[in-house]
Subunit: 430 residues, 2 copies
């Protein structure tokens, strides 16, 4: 049932463990040049509850860059057995160092993560992710090995061989990134392989943010269950949060990480269940502990307890980047919120645009929405009704009443990505 | 001094250990469908010395293909935790299965191999080989980790980032394939980096057969010591034989492998120090033991004892493929032998050709040799003397007197690879 007794911890036990581990982490971190300076004079014994974490400073990616490569290291490099680094082809890379204990802890977290998604020792696991400096490949590889799976390190690409391996070895579990999974499903179809005869029953599809729709599509096309996950190299790599078989949010391993959801503007905690920036602290890492790391990822905790009974809180899907946040009438709004409302309406076409305007001194938000041809009526009263419906639903989500313009299909400029859909006209009107 | 006590075994102890392990290996192998059938009725207790290996059948790559994927497996796939496979884009691939013990044994052999070349726990090691199904990447990765190095899994390619990593982390040891090492040295030069300031002092450069000249070039251009090694996926991958700091042949880990050098035609052992086909038996492997595997690699044992004192015998550089063997007047001759003689002569140019002819019923060998312009004299007496010298030196090496034609530079057809330099005109003249 459980891979690790940590999965059975109650909320209270998690809180107590986090307090103890936060103290030892801060103590350890202070051995590094960066935190030694940053936390000079901080009294570790003043930490008496997890909430005391808010008295500690935040750490940004820029801090990691500024202190590259050894600034956050708490020990001699002789004790380090692995490093992973971001690509670094543009600008300074960031680097994470691991002791042997860190690798063991990471492998255990990863094995536990695969286990809650239903992966077992007797499964054959094909790791279709790139190995090397990227943490996804080796991270999941070591987890599968710890779990006892037969691991096929097939790596990225070479679709024909991937298919052959899956067929020849009756593979049960795939690790595959969502965008490649869609391509791969097409390649299977093109090869005339019926998904019903395709042996894998589980796909681990983290690494890239994706929608529920994409998940369902992957599940249908590959005839398996697809599980979402969350990880980032600053927090080891994969194995930070993983969906259990209920597929209802990703359990964060709170015995290894403290997660805060903060308002990216005020840096105060958001209300329970509200969207904000994910801020994480490692509490079991030796070589390079990181305190209150600003991930820039937007997410919310899913309230309530999971059907599986684990007390470890669940993150919702990543809803975008904190950098995309807009503040309108004092309210934080993310483009993703608007997209989610619009995509849930059958009348709405493929494109939309968010325009930020100024009316006197007051910021306003205008949403321009393409309506599908079938719904674009001549009758103004019907259009008016649709406009009102969209406005109400948006207001329910973003807590501000936007202006809504309905426009015909293909009339808005095409753009890629959420951020580019936002047009800020406020400074021009000053 | 030693990473593993197995390095201190005497010749007699190695022989005794090999006898014991050969017995257990045959016993274990007989659990597999393939060897169970092949060795039916074989009495394991009849093995009383290593020489009894000659009563066992040889195994070829075709046998592995014919019994793909599970024919040589001695246990349930539940006990298997890894597989590696040859590319298999053309025809049936071959596959090797590893239990957890097999992975541990492999990592230990690999760590020991790096250690005898001078690699130590405090070194920073950059693994510039492709990871994935290819055994070179993960094989050496696990060895470095076992040794306790700081391992940078940089993988293949991305030369700019490779250089940055080496500089940023003061890397001491590289794993790099010879052809890429030459390219990489050029890239360093182009980037204006002085090899004198380049930190790595050791390069592991196995994986591809290469000449002593290439090694010296790599050592000079990168300002380090380069160590040759031998491995093949059928025998785990890397970590089969490795050069010690004396760089005088590759010690085979004879506590893990039994090596025979056989005449590829008669399949009898060649005389001590003679060239023949390398035939190997795994004697510590659980999941998929392989008995008397015909590697098709041509090599010879280096006679005598290494200056390091280890009793484990040393393989010379791989001298080509057994398939290239020619039989002239009952003598086995390999194109590589002829090439080595010719390349040692300052008068000889870039190209040569080996022609096999028939004179009546007797096979003859003719070697056509391009002579550098500076040495191509008008004086026939001088040319005659050179011709005689080449003939004598070739005869000393191949034990047959060839006909030798001296020709001008650029007069022979250009060809790639040793095998293509051989023109067999015997059947045409029948
Ligand atoms: Zn759950
Ligand atoms: Zn030696």
């Amino acid at each position: 049932m459980y891979f690790d007794t940590a999965e059975t911890l109650s909320r209270e036990e998690i809180d107590n463990l986090q307090t103890v581990r936060l103290k030892s982490t801060v103590e350890r971190a202070m051995r590094s040049p960066y935190y030694g300076e940053k936390l000079k004079g901080f009294n570790v014994d003043s930490i008496t509850s997890v909430d005391d974490i808010r008295r500690l400073p935040l750490t940004t990616k820029q801090d990691l860059r500024d202190n590259y490569p050894y600034g956050l290291l708490t020990c001699s490099t002789d004790e380090i057995v692995r490093l992973h680094a971001s690509s670094g082809t543009t600008g300074t890379p960031t680097v994470i160092f691991y002791t042997q204990n860190d690798l063991n802890t990471w492998a255990n977290l990863m094995a536990r993560s695969m286990h809650i998604a239903g992966v077992r020792a007797e499964h054959r696991f094909q790791n279709m992710a790139g190995y090397g400096l990227f943490t996804g490949g080796l991270g999941i590889h070591y987890g599968a090995e710890r779990l006892g799976c037969l691991t096929i390190p097939s790596g990225a690409g070479n679709t024909k061989r991937q298919i052959k391996m899956i067929q020849d070895f009756d593979v049960d579990v795939l690790h595959i990134i969502p965008s490649y999974a869609l391509y791969f499903a097409g390649a299977l179809e093109a090869a005339g392989i019926d998904p019903a005869t395709f042996t894998p029953s589980i796909a681990l599809i983290g690494a890239e943010p994706h929608t529920e729709e994409v998940r369902r599509k992957i599940e249908e096309m590959l005839n398996l269950k697809a599980y979402n996950s969350y990880g980032l190299s600053e927090m080891n790599g994969p194995g930070v949060a993983f969906e259990c078989v209920h597929q209802d949010g990703m359990h964060v391993w709170e015995d290894a990480f403290i997660v805060e959801i903060l308002d990216p503007e005020t840096l105060e905690p958001v209300k329970e269940g509200e969207l904000g920036e994910v801020v994480m602290t490692t509490i079991t890492r030796e070589g390079m502990p990181i305190i209150r790391y600003r991930t820039k990822d937007l997410c919310r905790f899913i309230p309530g307890t999971c059907a599986c009974g684990r007390a470890h809180r669940r993150l919702d899907r990543i809803a975008g980047r904190a950098d995309d946040m807009m503040i309108i009438k004092g309210v934080n709004i993310y483009p993703m919120q608007i997209e989610q409302v619009l995509m849930g309406l059958p009348e709405v076409g493929e494109n939309y645009q968010i325009v930020l305007e100024k009316e006197g001194f007051i910021d306003q938000i205008r949403v321009r929405v393409e309506i599908k041809e079938d719904f674009f009526e001549e009758d103004m009263r019907i259009l008016k009704g649709l406009q009102k419906k969209i406005q109400t639903q948006l207001c329910n989500e973003i807590l501000v009443t936007p202006r809504v313009d309905l426009v015909q299909s293909d009339s808005l400029p095409k753009s890629e990505g959420k951020a580019q859909r936002v047009v800020d006209q406020r400074s021009q009107e000053d």
